[in-house]
């Protein structure tokens, strides 16, 4: 399947049009859900950290520091990718599955078009381009959510919180962001290819499109979790 997907597009202009369409569907349309989740999760992380800081030996800026580390290392790249596996994965699988059962993919094949390349490659490239942008937005909004919750509930003040999110940044912050965005690229590739596989090879009717969509989300989620474990082992330990 990957050989068919990763071949050269037949018509650059058509490919460009499809890519723009997928960037809108996979990337731009995901901004609202990513934004809402990130703000609330950032707020909850900050409040949970503050609530569990019993020891007077822990400095007050720990809230900001823990929020930053949780957000950059795991929450934004992994949890948001899992959310996107649900949203984007089901969308891809049901779209391709419906095209399969209504013979639209057969029509492309008979016309002499490589359906895998025409339908799947723009999705993979769009996801690989847009996921890091979505994750960066998520990181920023999550930290903002944490700040907003701390200030509004009086758990921390702006100066201490910002000190916390800047703490030790030069030592490990930059490499943490690089690590997070690198694994995001891998997750984007895995989610789109796994979902496309289940959608493209759907057999049957409407019921089977639903089954493919569910399988795509479940398998993408498992694959992302396994990949996350392996990447963490390889890069951080």
């Amino acid at each position: 399947m990957l050989k068919g997907v990763l071949s050269r597009p037949e018509k650059g202009k058509l490919f460009w049009g499809s890519l723009m369409n997928e960037i809108e569907k996979i990337g731009l349309s995901s901004v609202p859900i990513v934004a809402v989740l990130s703000v609330f999760m950032g707020a909850v992380i900050a409040m949970q950290t503050a609530a569990n800081m019993d020891s007077p030996l822990l400095p007050a800026y720990t809230i900001g520091f823990i929020t930053r580390q949780s957000t950059i290392l795991e929450f934004s790249p992994t949890i948001i990718s899992l959310i996107l596996a649900g949203k984007v994965g089901s969308n891809i699988a049901s779209e391709l599955g419906t095209m399969r059962v209504t013979e639209q993919i057969d029509a492309l094949e008979i016309m002499g078009v490589n359906p895998l390349n025409y339908l799947v490659l723009p999705k993979v490239i769009a996801a690989v381009m847009m996921f890091p942008i979505l994750i960066t937005i998520s990181m920023a909004l999550s930290l903002w959510g944490g700040w907003f919750a701390c200030v509004q509930t009086g758990l921390s003040d702006t100066e201490t919180y910002i000190y916390g999110i800047r703490a030790f940044f030069t030592e490990n912050g930059v490499s943490d962001i690089t690590y997070a965005l690198s694994k995001t690229l891998i997750f984007a590739f895995l989610i789109t290819t796994v979902s496309s596989f289940y959608g493209y090879y759907t057999k049957g009717g409407a019921l089977d499109v639903g089954k493919s969509s569910t399988k795509a989300v479940v398998q993408s989620t498992i694959v992302v979790l396994i990949a996350n474990l392996l990447i963490t082992q390889l890069f951080l330990i």
Partner: protein
């Protein structure tokens, strides 16, 4: 002309097609008829390359489609138009964009030229002015006509129609049948229609092949089918009470 030589096809060890030999001439509407589950669709999919027969040759004007590599197959596929049972129009594209799709993919035409060609094809199937509709906004008959317009947009040499009348009322079915017949004669195409609709057989069947249990059981014209004494054909043609009564009256 399309020629089939000894086509054999099986799935999971179960043989579906047995030694099918046939010739489909250009400028004629060739019908493949038979009961559901007897191998018509598998045979058509073998001809258009969606299935590969284990044994046999599919010759498009002497060129063996089975033995070709992907690039050679692509060249033949540009000469094929296909009308699917469910129309298979692309949901996300308008009627005009559907017709322009093969032109965008395989020609260097300008946008204006493509729009002109799309308008011509739409006019040919009596769908002028429907350019901006989406497939979901069209009725079943309109979708079939748009699918025909898309199939002829690249001026194909070969036209395949998989049960073109399924889901259509008798009157619309006749419109679609006549359209298929007209464009076949107009463009001198080799047309193959898979059907089990007896109205189509009588309306447009220049050459008819009857598939029974995966074998070519009978071949002839629409006149021959009414006079044959082949038992399986008679069971197929006169399956309904109405046809039996009609036969009684005629005889």
């Amino acid at each position: 002309m399309i020629e089939l030589k000894n086509i054999n096809k099986s799935f999971s060890g179960k043989q579906i097609l047995f030694d099918i030999n046939a010739k489909f001439e250009e400028g004629k509407v060739n019908l493949i008829i038979g009961q559901s589950g007897h191998g018509k669709s598998v045979l058509t999919k073998c001809i258009v390359g969606l299935h590969t027969p284990e044994i046999g040759e599919v010759l498009f004007d002497g060129r063996d489609f089975v033995k070709m590599d992907n690039n050679e197959r692509k060249d033949i596929r540009k000469e094929i138009g296909m009308l699917f049972q469910g129309s298979a129009l692309f949901d996300s594209l308008t009627v005009e964009e559907n017709i322009m799709f093969p032109l965008q993919m395989f020609t260097e035409m300008t946008k204006e030229e493509m729009v002109d060609r799309a308008n011509f094809c739409l006019d040919r199937v009596n769908m002028s002015g429907s350019n901006k509709l989406y497939p979901a906004e069209c009725s079943g008959g309109m979708q079939k006509r748009v699918a025909i317009a898309r199939a002829i947009s690249l001026k194909p040499k070969y036209l395949f129609c998989d049960e073109p009348n399924s889901g259509l009322d008798p009157k619309t079915s006749i419109v679609i049948d006549n359209l298929i017949k007209e464009i076949t004669y107009e463009y001198n195409m080799t047309t193959i229609v898979v059907t089990h609709d007896m109205n189509s057989v009588i309306e447009i069947g220049d050459n008819i092949i009857f598939i029974f249990n995966g074998k070519k059981w009978w071949e002839g014209s629409k006149q021959d089918i009414l006079t044959t004494d082949n038992e399986e054909i008679l069971n197929f043609v006169y399956a309904s009470q109405f046809m039996k009564q009609l036969k009684g009256k005629l005889s």
